[in-house]
């Protein structure tokens, strides 16, 4: 009965034996953990590539939907800059290597937000952010800002494209969300997004954009029925990101022509 192989001896123990119980639990857990980590590591590059492709696809789809931008894209194309949000000026960080998601969680490159100003409920805001511009000579035709904020059960990430007056919404595109399927998830659908086009963000320096059922005014977008928290999430994040803790100073500098160092 005394088998030399310890593995066989372990398996031969009765199932009611505590050593066997703990041993089996540990063995199954270890093997499963190994499989899960191996899959995650092996597939991560492919998944990351898919994410980026989906994002850039949405970005170019958004740009093409704005009238008059497609011709400009053939000429100079879209330029990428990194903006220092506190000073509101273009920073000298290289946009090609700047990883905004990493910066947002790095304590050295982000700022904690007090609940009073944290309209978007993101708790930390990166010190620098990417922005995209389409320019005709020196004149800005389109400014694309990345915005994000809490929805009902997930973080909603979107691009907000402003026209040359830096106040009219040219397009709004949600590229990542995990809201309730069928209700909040409609935040990423055309019906909701197209309602943003042509709306005015601010009036005389005050951010006025809001959501309402049966939206009619210049500052109103249509509510998603059954998903008011999600709708207000998008409104609040626009308020935050265009406010003084977001891109507010940068937009001010762009107007006065002092955004470049």
């Amino acid at each position: 009965m005394s088998d030399a192989n310890p593995f066989r001896r372990f398996l031969a123990r009765p199932n009611s034996d505590p050593v066997k119980s703990i041993g089996m639990a540990a063995a199954v857990a270890a093997i499963c953990a190994l499989i899960v980590s191996a899959t995650a590591v092996i597939l991560r590059p492919a998944i990351e590539e898919n994410r980026l492709a989906a994002r850039s696809g949405q970005m170019s789809a958004m740009l093409e939907s704005v009238p008059g931008i497609a011709e400009l894209l053939d000429g100079g194309g879209i330029e990428t800059f990194v903006v220092d949000l506190a000073t509101g000026r273009i920073s000298d960080t290289d946009p090609a290597t700047f990883d905004q998601n990493a910066a947002a969680t790095d304590p050295e490159r982000s700022t904690a937000l007090s609940p009073a100003v944290d309209l978007a409920a993101i708790s930390r805001r990166e010190n620098e952010s990417l922005v995209w511009m389409v320019r005709d000579g020196e004149e800005i035709k389109l400014l694309v800002l990345p915005v994000r904020g809490a929805g009902y059960q997930s973080t909603i990430r979107a691009y907000l494209a402003l026209e040359g007056d830096l106040n009219t919404v040219a397009a709004f595109t949600v590229y990542e969300q995990g809201e309730t399927p069928g209700l909040g998830s409609r935040v990423a659908e055309r019906d909701f997004l197209s309602g943003w086009t042509g709306k005015q963000i601010a009036e005389e320096g005050d951010i006025m954009i809001d959501a309402a059922a049966g939206a009619s005014g210049l500052h109103e977008v249509e509510m998603i029925s059954g998903a008011s928290v999600t709708t207000y999430g998008t409104i609040d994040m626009v308020h935050f990101w265009l406010g003084e803790n977001g891109f507010g100073p940068f937009i001010e500098n762009l107007r006065e022509g002092t955004a470049w160092p």
């Binding site: 199932n15 034996d17 639990a25 499989i35 899960v36 597939l43 492919a46 399927p181």
Partner: protein, 217 residues
């Protein structure tokens, strides 16, 4: 015998329509046939592999911790399936959102491993699990076909009925794309199944009593 194990869960022992298991995901992913098909394939693969693995080590699974061991194995398979979808069918995984990861909590999977795979050798266990997976798939595909056809006028994304928005005659039923319609269709489906195979209906647990007319002044 083997064929019967595979074909029984399709109609007579269907996990969704007869045992009423796995309803949550059956409601959520059936707005279009392509999502329903992906979900069906994912669940069938997961339940078959889980049954095979659990059946292979069944004599060494201590009784007190059997559920958590089964769940660990199932959850591992589900994560792998989810990651594979994200890597090779990203658009589809975006449309399915959380429902692939929720296979881990699907009663059909745990039900088959606990009730059958724990007591039977791997090959019959896998056949039984695959049969149940296919039974689930069958219901999903039927519900999805009805919902997509009447909700959007398409099947697998191909326009079948010309909608009014595109100059046709068909007015899409918005209700079909919302969750309640899945309940209604599933309910009608279960009713139809029991009308066709009356022995599937459970015996009544309580007889209704005739209320005595109240004496009123």
């Amino acid at each position: 015998m083997a064929l019967k194990q595979l074909s029984d869960p399709l109609i007579d022992k269907n996990p969704v329509a007869v045992h009423i298991l796995g309803i949550c995901s059956a409601l959520a992913v059936t707005t279009s046939m392509s999502t329903a098909l992906t979900m069906s394939v994912a669940l069938t693969v997961v339940v078959t592999l889980a049954a095979g693995i659990i059946s292979a080590i069944r004599v060494h699974i201590p009784n007190q911790i059997r559920i958590i061991l089964q769940l660990t194995i199932i959850a591992t398979l589900v994560i792998v399936a989810d990651q594979l979808l994200q890597a090779f069918a990203f658009g589809m995984s975006q449309r399915l959102t959380v429902f692939v990861s929720l296979i881990a909590t699907n009663c059909i999977v745990l039900g088959r491993t606990e009730a059958y795979a724990m007591h039977n050798p791997p090959v019959p266990a896998m056949l039984d699990a695959m049969g149940n997976g296919l039974g689930y798939s069958l219901v999903l595909m039927v519900v999805a076909a009805i919902r997509e056809l009447f909700g959007a006028g398409t099947l697998f994304g191909f326009q079948v009925l010309a909608t009014q928005a595109e100059g046709g005659w068909f007015v899409p039923l918005r209700l079909m794309l919302l969750a309640p319609s899945a309940f209604i269709i599933l309910g009608l489906l279960i009713w139809a199944l029991r009308a066709w195979r009356p022995w599937l209906a459970e015996a009544r647990e309580f007889a209704l009593r005739e209320a005595k007319p109240e004496a009123r002044p």
